[in-house]
């Protein structure tokens, strides 16, 4: 059965800390891995990763994929209270459907 596992489930840090969120997967037909940030409403897109070893970066956030070991990490440096959210990892299957398999998410709380 295809699955996506995220760790830790929850993380509490202080502003300025650096955090690493993990995502491992077992998917039969892998196409890409996506990271979303979910605050109170809709998940908002952060990164899409398709190739191993190529870091994607956006401001203080960065992510990388290892297709050999079947995992990805999302790094957030110099965290701010606005980074508090649930971070969702999803894997896109390589069928003609773009279907996503989601992990349960990591809840990040950043305190001042």
């Amino acid at each position: 059965e295809d699955k996506v596992v995220q760790s830790p489930l929850s993380l509490v840090v202080h502003e300025g800390d650096t955090v690493t969120l993990n995502c491992s997967y077992e998917v039969t037909n892998f196409r890409s891995l996506l990271w979303y940030k979910q605050e109170k409403k809709a998940p908002t897109f952060l990164f899409m990763l398709t190739s191993s070893g190529i870091e994607k970066k956006s401001g203080r956030l960065s992510s990388i994929l290892d297709k050999k070991e079947l995992f990805s990490i999302l790094n957030i440096t110099a965290t701010q209270t606005g980074d508090s959210a649930v971070y969702l990892c999803a894997v896109e299957e390589n069928f003609n459907t773009d279907k996503l398999i989601f992990g349960t998410g990591t809840r990040l709380q950043v305190f001042p």
Binding site: P43, A90, T97, D98, F102
Partner: protein, 116 residues
């Protein structure tokens, strides 16, 4: 840009009632999806559609029905509401096969549904 629009935002139903959750997108996306998200959990796929007139089951389709008569709209129907269907429902869309690659799914703001 409106993107993906879901209505209603909140709804309370009694057991056995029926209702339709509306979803429309204005991005000319071919593919559309319905997910549910239970507390502390990730999103689970209910149904999806790769084009008008084409729908298929996802991971958790029982108790739901969908239709896709137009490219823009993808309503989700609950026929006999049950407490287990209490959840937050998200609609999403994407360009799909044959269109620019590396295009993620875009999500609506969700419908919070309680069955009492």
């Amino acid at each position: 840009n409106a993107g993906v629009t879901q209505t209603p935002k909140f709804r309370i139903l009694k057991i056995g009632q029926s209702m339709t959750l509306q979803c429309t997108q204005d991005m000319n996306h071919n593919y559309m999806y319905w997910y549910r998200q239970d507390p502390g959990m990730g999103l689970k796929l209910i149904y999806y559609s790769v084009g008008a007139g084409i729908t298929d089951k996802g991971e958790v389709p029982n108790g739901y029905n969908v239709s896709r008569s137009t490219t823009e709209d993808f309503p989700l129907r609950l026929e006999l509401a049950a407490p287990s269907q209490t959840s937050v429902y998200f609609c999403a869309s994407s360009y799909g096969l044959g269109t620019p690659s590396n295009q993620p799914q875009h999500f609506g703001d969700g419908t919070r549904l309680s069955i009492l």
